[in-house]
Amino acid sequence: MRHIISMLLENEPGALSRVVGLFSQRNYNIESLTVAPTDDHTLSRLTITTMGDDRKIEQITKHLNKLVDVVKLVDLTEGAHIERELMLIKVKATGAQRDEIKRTTDIFRGQVVDVTSTIYSIQLVGTSEKLDGFLAAISGTTILEVARTGVSGISRGEKVLSV
């Protein structure tokens, strides 16, 4: 099953490599990874999506917790949560397809953020599933470039990940 593990990490050199290294060292899989400092500049928030059964995920969270740089950690998929990913996509937009792409973008609530006479650059935000859906919907067109950020997320309601 897919899990989204989000953690607060000391914003120090080498901290990220320890997290990433743990995954390769123990043969765990990283589907996506995002990381950036939080409002507290001594902390980074790092979110990893990974696949595995409950036992594997338990091992992953235990080992992550053992890393001295990991301050706090939550498996977002254990409860209700919001997840978002951002995608920038550059497509060929000429002829009849130009309108079709614009319409599809509107349906998916994306925005055309840059334009030339032959090209659209589109921004889309949503769950990974939605982004996949958009890519499938425009599969008839020529996709020139795709840049996805990976998943970030927070728990719904009162639950907070903080120190």
């Binding site: 080498g14 320890r18 235990k62 053992k66 120190v163």
Partner: protein
């Protein structure tokens, strides 16, 4: 500053090898007399010696190496300590901060290279950070599940012209690092209930009991309950091996009775163990009828391989104390009739005498006889370090350790070349004790240069070399699984004359070739109390280590000899 911080941390001994990036530190060492430094002949030996010191004393071992090759040579020793959870501080020099990343002379990314094999690591950025980093490093290395910590220091950071106000921190607080203390009382209660109701229990303990100083409490628990107890390779000495309730070591080369008891048990109490593959054999077939109670300080060790029915995360001593308390207060008593019946069954297995030594003809020495002789000569009271291979298993099987921290071996990583430097570490810690290295002619050649260190510092280590003229354990597997094709495991024609070799290094060598002279010559060698003696014992080259687990089987599946299996 660094040396002062080490001294303030209680360090009086470090092992190292100088080089460009650490010259400021070495100059500081020269100008003081509080911290003693031992000059090894290879950085790997420095780590193993510090490791042996740590295992024997419980205090962290400290290593100082230079950048680049100094640091990479230390890697095997760091990995060895990491696998066996040994507290160790490795200080590595680094090129000047301004040169980092430029592929400078003797530059290597030590923090990067060591990352998967350390508990934590630091790169010191400013001279004034040194005291706090040292404090944090020792705190992390020695608390919780211990492990090695690397401190990488660029040369400019130790520049004596950069002055700052030195203050050693009183305490340390890390918001992201907490040490498990007491176990969950509810869980401990549950475990005690199951334990008291057991009809076929086994207490299975490992290195965690030795490291966690839990031996006395374990002995009390085992005595109170009257249950059988077995130790892992790493856990030997945690319970007195000469006691009748001790079943011997378990696992791949464990005794018949220990492995059979585990397999047929209804309750397994695992303390400070990690259900390692060398113990469990096939996980799917492991202890089919047993409830698993697992006590460990590391939450990640629990249910990693074998799922625990009752997991307890906490320090061994606190959990054992609480267990003892609960058992003493409990209204329920042990099911004595069932336990008597269980012991009867175990005694039946014991009668098989799986460690029986069948003497060889023609005065040939069996390796097991050497260990038995060593045990007799040292009154079972020596510190025994070992390398890796057949001799390691023979030592573990035949030297009955009654005290913790006496058996010093690389259990997790299985590092050949570990034993001799580790024995030096022990000897430095306990100058008057008998420090023996049980080795083979293969392993000893992996760190034999330390003979020079032993001469320089007058370390009277006794080296007992079980010389079978081959890489015995490899050869055994080739015998059993590869049709006796000895692919690159023999070298009889090119072995050095060890006696001449050790004499060249200024030590004493003794060769023993016949069983009839074993006892006397061993005694003579051990009588040379203030000399290093290398005892080269020619043993039966065809001998195998038994019992031996049958790959893919359950714990009950063992080869008992070349012709017999369960």
């Amino acid at each position: 500053m660094l040396i002062r911080a080490l001294h303030d941390e209680g360090v009086d001994l470090i092992w190292g090898y100088p080089g460009g990036a650490v010259l400021h530190i070495y100059d500081a060492l020269f100008k003081q007399d509080k911290v003693e430094h031992i000059l090894v002949r290879h950085e790997q030996a420095a780590t193993h010696a510090a490791d042996g010191y740590a295992r024997a004393t419980g205090k962290p071992g400290v290593v100082l190496v230079t950048s680049g090759p100094g640091a990479t040579n230390a890697i095997t020793g760091i990995a060895t300590a990491y696998m066996d959870s040994i507290p160790m501080i490795v200080i590595s020099g680094q090129v000047d901060s301004s040169l980092i990343g430029s592929d400078g002379f003797q530059e290597t990314d030590m923090v990067g290279i060591s990352r998967p094999i350390v508990k934590h690591s630091f790169m010191v950025q400013n001279p004034q950070d040194i005291p706090m980093v040292v404090k944090k490093a020792f705190y992390i290395a020695t608390t919780g599940r211990p492990g090695p910590v690397v401190i990488d220091i660029p040369k400019d950071v130790t520049d004596p012209s950069r002055k700052f106000k030195y203050q050693y921190p009183e305490s340390v607080k890390l918001r992201s690092y907490s040490v498990p203390g007491k176990g969950h009382t509810g869980q401990i209660k549950k475990a005690v209930e199951i334990l008291l109701a057991a009809k076929r229990p086994v207490i299975y303990t490992g290195g965690g009991v030795v490291q966690g100083e839990g031996s006395a409490l374990l002995t009390e628990l085992v005595t109170l309950l009257g249950y059988p107890v077995t130790n892992t390779l790493m856990g030997l000495g945690a319970y007195p091996a000469s006691d009748n309730q001790f079943l011997g070591m378990l696992g791949m080369h464990g005794t018949y009775e220990a492995n059979m008891s585990m397999h047929c048990s209804d309750v397994v109490l695992g303390i400070g163990v990690r259900f390692d593959d060398r113990v469990t054999n096939s996980i799917a077939k492991f202890c089919p009828g047993a409830k698993i109670l697992h006590v460990d300080i590391d939450p990640a060790a629990i249910s990693k391989t074998v799922v625990a029915d009752v997991p307890i995360v906490g320090s061994v001593t606190s959990v054992l104390e609480e267990m003892l308390e609960l058992i003493k207060q409990s209204d329920t008593d042990v099911d004595r009739a069932a336990i008597d019946q269980w012991w009867k069954q175990i005694e039946g297995w014991r009668e098989k005498d799986s460690l029986k030594v069948i003497p060889a003809p023609d005065d040939v020495i069996k390796p097991q006889q050497v260990i038995q002789c060593l045990y007799d000569i040292t009154d079972g009271d020596a510190y025994v370090s070992s390398d890796v291979g057949q001799h390691q298993m023979f030592a573990a099987q035949y030297y009955k350790f009654d005290k913790p921290r006496r058996w010093i071996n690389s259990g997790g990583l299985g590092t050949m070349g570990f034993g001799f430097p580790a024995a030096m570490g022990v000897q430095m810690a306990f100058p008057d004790a008998v420090s023996v290295c049980v080795t083979g002619e293969g392993s000893i050649q992996m760190n034999i240069q330390e003979l020079a260190t032993c001469l320089q510092y007058q370390l009277p280590v006794k080296i007992v070399c079980l010389n079978n003229q081959a890489l015995g354990m490899v050869k055994q597997w080739q015998d059993m699984q590869y049709g006796g094709r000895y692919s690159h495991s023999t070298y009889a024609e090119s072995l050095p004359d060890f006696i001449k070799l050790v004499e060249a290094y200024g030590h004493v060598g003794v060769r023993i070739e016949k069983l009839s002279e074993l006892k006397q010559k061993m005694a003579e060698a051990f009588a040379l109390k203030d000399r290093l003696v290398f005892i080269d014992v020619l043993v039966d080259p065809m001998e195998h280590v038994y019992p031996m687990a049958i790959k893919g089987g359950a714990m009950k599946d063992m080869y008992l000899s070349k012709t017999e299996r369960t």
